[in-house]
Amino acid sequence: MSETSSTAGPSAGTAEPGPAGKTAEQAAAELDAAIAGIEHRLAAWAAETGAALAAMSGRVTGTAVDKLIRPVVEELVQLPDGYAAGAGFIANAGLLGPERSYIAWWQGPDLEPVDALANFSPNSISRYVKAEWFRIPVETGRAHVTGPYVDFLCTDEYVLTFTHPVFTRPDGPVAGIVGIDVTVQRLERGAMPALRRIGARATLANADGRAVVSAASDIDAGDLAAPDEPCRHYPVGRTFTVWSAAVGL
């Protein structure tokens, strides 16, 4: 977990903010810094990618996309304290041709290409249009986090996928998405010490109230959970919350 602390504090709280509360706030800030770090990196990457694609002025090829994306993925997955298990770019229909998708996604330290065969398929875009991590950023034009879910397409692992739309011009259609896969296992290793400092039943939950990592032994990743009373709520990143105490549903 990153040592950088942020000023983000609890949004609501019922417990007394004593010395223990302070430690908890610090721990929550660490978690927030780590998740927000991933989100900021992704947003910056989306902007760089959009600008680079725009500079190709309508003549975007698979080879050019690979050349643009691969070095960034390499840096992301090999970052010593990074969380990326895999990352990449998926072109929306239209960027390389009508109904044509292009996948430039790699995973693991050896940069194993993901779903590379799909690039030779005329209908590969249909594999992605319905996927939450592709559909929502394309439809809303905003960043999205999917999961925790079992990723059949890439890792076959239990992951969170952070995705961000890429624009080649500000008011244009979404040209594609960039994304980073973070395994729940990796997140658990990073987040557990901080969660324990927050409380014995502290739980990191996604926007749907699904546990991602929990200090409580009876709440597993993927379980629906709810804040117990009394409970402090710490916002983490754009969409997550740490509950100082949670119960499984």
């Binding site: 290409p113 065969l117 030779f120 398929s121 209908n123 925790p148 079992v150 059949f152 239990y158 993927g222």
Partner: protein
């Protein structure tokens, strides 16, 4: 050396079972075959050349060349020469009833039953956990995989395997999901056969609805039972068909 405790001999034997490694060439071939099976690559479609294929799959050009020649030998791809030449997915490569029947007759009754038991164990475990973890969005997605009874056999077959994969996705267990995918690969094109039978389609669409309802109502026992019934319906159909051989 320590003497192994009583009863450990069987586990020890498993440790020293020879490891069969499938060659890289076979691996590339099976990827392409799988892509054809799932409709990702379709008849008549041009395949990447050796160099492109090697780069995409991260294998050597020699491996890619051998894989292409093996695929050509088994009739999955054809090669045309000249300016518009290259390798193409063969025209009649879609999973065919004849091929599936041949596969069915190669299997013994015992193998079919055993495969079904394994499939039931994994799928039922998924259904049980899914019933605990489902939310409204999960159920909407799951129901979208229930095909209409008059949908064509190919779509039916795809929808059935996707439906069970969705149950695994709702269960959110990576290990169970991977095992389910492996079992579906073992079943191969076999499941195409019952899907061509309208009686089977009507029976199973009722069961699919039961599975979705039980998972939605958070009833693990009912969900497990319904998933087991779904696989039993498939196994029974295959066993009945297979019995005609004798």
């Amino acid at each position: 050396m320590l003497l192994s405790p009583k009863g450990a001999s069987r586990s020890l034997a498993a440790v020293f079972t020879p490891i069969k490694s499938r060659g890289l060439v076979d691996e590339v071939c099976s990827r392409i075959e799988q892509a054809v099976e799932t409709g990702l690559l379709t008849s008549g479609q041009r395949l990447p050349n050796e160099t492109e294929l090697a780069a995409a799959l991260g294998v050597s050009a020699v491996t890619a060349r051998e894989a292409l020649s093996q695929l050509r030998a088994s009739g999955i791809i054809r090669t045309a020469r000249g300016r518009s030449g290259g390798s193409f997915i063969a025209d009649n490569v879609l999973p065919s009833r004849e091929r599936a029947l041949a596969q069915l007759h190669e299997l013994s009754r015992l193998q079919i039953r055993d495969l079904a038991l394994h499939y039931q164990a994994i799928a039922a475990a998924c259904a049980g956990v899914a019933a605990r973890r489902s939310d409204a969005a999960d159920i909407a997605t799951l129901r979208s995989f229930i095909p209409a009874a008059d949908d064509d056999p190919l779509n039916w077959r795809l929808a059935l395997s996707e439906f069970l994969l969705e149950v695994a996705a709702i269960a959110r267990s990576a290990r169970l999901a991977r095992e389910l995918i492996r079992l579906q690969a073992d079943l191969g094109t076999l499941t195409l056969l019952p899907c061509a039978d309208s009686g089977y389609r009507v029976r199973t669409s009722v069961i699919l609805e039961e599975v979705a309802t039980a998972i939605e109502a958070h009833e693990p026992v009912a969900a497990e039972a319904a998933v087991k019934a779904l696989i039993a319906a498939t196994a029974d159909w295959l066993l009945t068909e297979q019995a005609k051989r004798y």
